[in-house]
Amino acid sequence: MKIFKNYLLLGLLGFGLLLTGCGDDEAPEEENEEEVIDLVTLTFTPAGGGTAIVAEANDPDGEGAQDFTLDDINLAANTTYTLALELENTEEGESITEEIEEEDAEHMFFFSFTADAFSDPAGNGNIDSRGDDVNYNDLDGGGLPVGLSTTWTTGDATSGGTFRVVLKHQPDIKTATSTATDGESDIDLTFTLNIQ
């Protein structure tokens, strides 16, 4: 009878193997991570030529617990600059800027800054009120501003001010009146602004 016992065990073992046999030990395939933005570069190019001023927000661990690092923005007083924004996923070598250009009807940058830090636009920017002045240089297909390129003329010297950039993703939401509270925030960064 012992032999039966062995057959039984073998049978059960065989079935167990059958159950697990279809298992594999493959890791998930490598995915092109397109969600995370870990580097945002602000490039201020003076209108009359000269050295561009660059400020970066850098978050090497993405959604990890470490904070990002933010440069200060140091601009010259009474000077006109063109601001170009670049967004990247450095881990993947992916340019998010290009995606935004392709989907510009769904995206809009909003800005706010210390009141009257700039002579143009005056005021404190359009995050609190969409109608306030920001000089957008680029428009989407529907004639609405995007904000990858903007123009700024600094006022007199100040230090320790703030300069906040918010990128909103507004699929089917973006209109002439949609505001910085509509849609989801793709980026929301507050830099220290010094004007010398």
Partner: protein, 791 residues
Amino acid sequence: MRLLLTFLLLGVFGLPMIHAQECNEKITGRVLSIITNEPLSFATVQVIGTENGAIVGDDGHFVINDVCEGELDLEVRFVGYKSVVHHHDPHHAEPIIFLAPDEALLESIVIEEELNAHELKSLRSKSIYIENSESLGSNSGEIFSKTSGVSTLRTGQNVVKPMVHGLHSNRILIINNGVRHSYQAWGTEHAPEIDPTQINRLRFVKGASTVRFGSDAIGGVILFDAEKPSYNSDLNGSVSAGYQTNGRAYSMEGTVGAGGERTAWSLGINGTKQGDLKAPNYNLTNTGKNEFGFSGSGRLHFSWIDLDLYANHYQQELGILRGSVNGNLEDLSNAIGAEEPNETKDFSYNITTPRQETNHTLVRLVSSIYLGNQQLDVQYAFQQNDRREFDIRRGTNNERPAINLRLISNSLDIDWDHPSKGKWVGTYGLQMFTQDNDNIPGTNTIPFVPNYNTTNIGLFGIESLNIGNTSYEAGVRFDFLNLDVRGRDSRNDIYRDNLNYYNFTFTGGIVHEFNEMVSFRTNIGTAWRAPNVGELYSFGKHQNIIEFGLWRYELFEENDSISTRSVLANDQKEVPSERGLKWIASLNVNHSHVEFEVTPYVNWIQNYIYLRPYGLTNTVRGTFPYFIHDQTDAVYSGVDIDIRNTWNDLTSTEIKASYVHAKDVVNNQYFLGVPPFNVQFDINRKIGPLTLTVSPSWTSRQFNEPPVISADEFVNAEIIPFNQFSTFDFLPAPDGFFLLDASVGYERENLSVRIAGDNLLNNSYRRYTDQSRYFSDDLGINIKLFASISF
């Protein structure tokens, strides 16, 4: 083991057992009305082809003496009721025959007791039968919560998970036609993919019954079965249709079946299309759903073996409220403060992002082999579960799932009921269960959970001893579980681990019948579960927060810092299994027309895995609080009360109430999302051919809640506004609410019509256990129409 082998061989070679014909057996059973559950005294039960028979007594029981051994047909008749022929065999003792009145749509049915129910009597619960008019177009979570002690955890109206005594997900088990429902249980927003029209007979085991059902049964077990095709029935079927005003949802269902002396089969198909739902004051944009299911079932019966095949496929496309999605804390603050949910639009059947698409397929074959006074059940099941979740994403990624998982499961269960030896009855079993989960490539985001394989082998034994009015029972189980994981970290590097868990579990219980009216049952049992992949490996933003699994962070006490750079393994940070110890008791008083049941319980869970807030992190998207999975000890205790009153043939009432109290006993704090006190009152009354039901219910505010820190406080915070060991909520618990539901049903011959209304007062309310409560009210008034024709 030798006996087991003999049975297996018999199963394979198909040797029928030959019985000698002796005529000194007796058949006992009961005859009840299917409508009122009351005994039908003076009904007749006759053995077809003989003069032998019996008349049903006052208590509904009958005894037929001098019956020959073997199989025979019983005919049950009663004036004004549909008579039924029941094929009786000695392996299904004590048939309960439910007769349907002539004018009712329902057919008379017979419930056969198993020779041995393989269940712990000290945990056994009453069966609830769900009618099609209730399940068509509904969802399984809603149907499960029809009993006291079971509530729901929701993400809006389409994603509904059952909670048993305050526990959910991996802490409860759902047994679908005898098979453990295998799905991505780790996600609180992953509802079980169960076709509600297939839920016919529903049972609950509220105690810890890991010994019988395996790991995860810490809170309890929900069991349901589809309707079985009947033997000895002509070709029959039904066509049903439903419409709901809220969501302008329409549903259809068709069934067909037939049965001969030894075979029976049935087929069913159903579908639902629902548009945007509506709260009392606004539309709930993107809350439509599309569902489609079909099933088939076949039975084969011989005196010594029963074969039962069941297959079901169910697919769902579930919209999630558009306004419940947001980016950073400031977005969350805006969304919480909004008058109506963001992006609210006019009614539409369109489902965009966010949404979930699921497919679930189950194929199950069970064979019961009878050998005199023993029984052997062998069950094999295959399940495939596909889950794709679409988030709001940039560009073409919006059309790609962010989560795309395929889970294949196989299980083999062998149960053996040994011959009763004196007063001893027992069941022994072997359960093998495997899962193979793969991420389907093409999501363009690093998988939130790894690929994993689970292999579980469990062996159990349960014995019960009956002495007079008391039964004592005890059981023990051993489980081996292997978890093999392969995933990718945030730098896309591969991590692997292989984990083994060994666990013993025990159960013990007593059932005592003081007299015919009063019975008492109590059980104490242990349960366990392995940490799930979400708790171990989750990394990054999930809904409104950032979370890190137990092996995705390291704490350094020396400088109070945290690192999330590397993926840990068990030898670096041990994560023991969650272990539960649950005591439950139930006092049942059945006095003339009143049935009263009170069920207190205490569940102590060691190494309880929960999320606790740890800090704030600044990302380019803005500031987020982040949470870490950690372990503590928890105690869940509470009581369920159920009082049924049958006033007369026409009127009955029922009161169901549940209370649960849950606490983290290490850090002395309340958990988030514990269901508040709830009481429901049902009045049923028959008026001519109509059945009227009115169901008012009250759900209290949850007062045992963690402290509140609003999203605004985070936005403006200079320092971290919470203690790292105390959990918090972004909003206080919503107020208590009153709901009034009612229905009118009409049944005549082969037609059934039902009109029902939910939230008839159109009250605005939010459920504490709904993750959409931060953004929107729950459903407003909903009028449901249902009609069914059978042939």
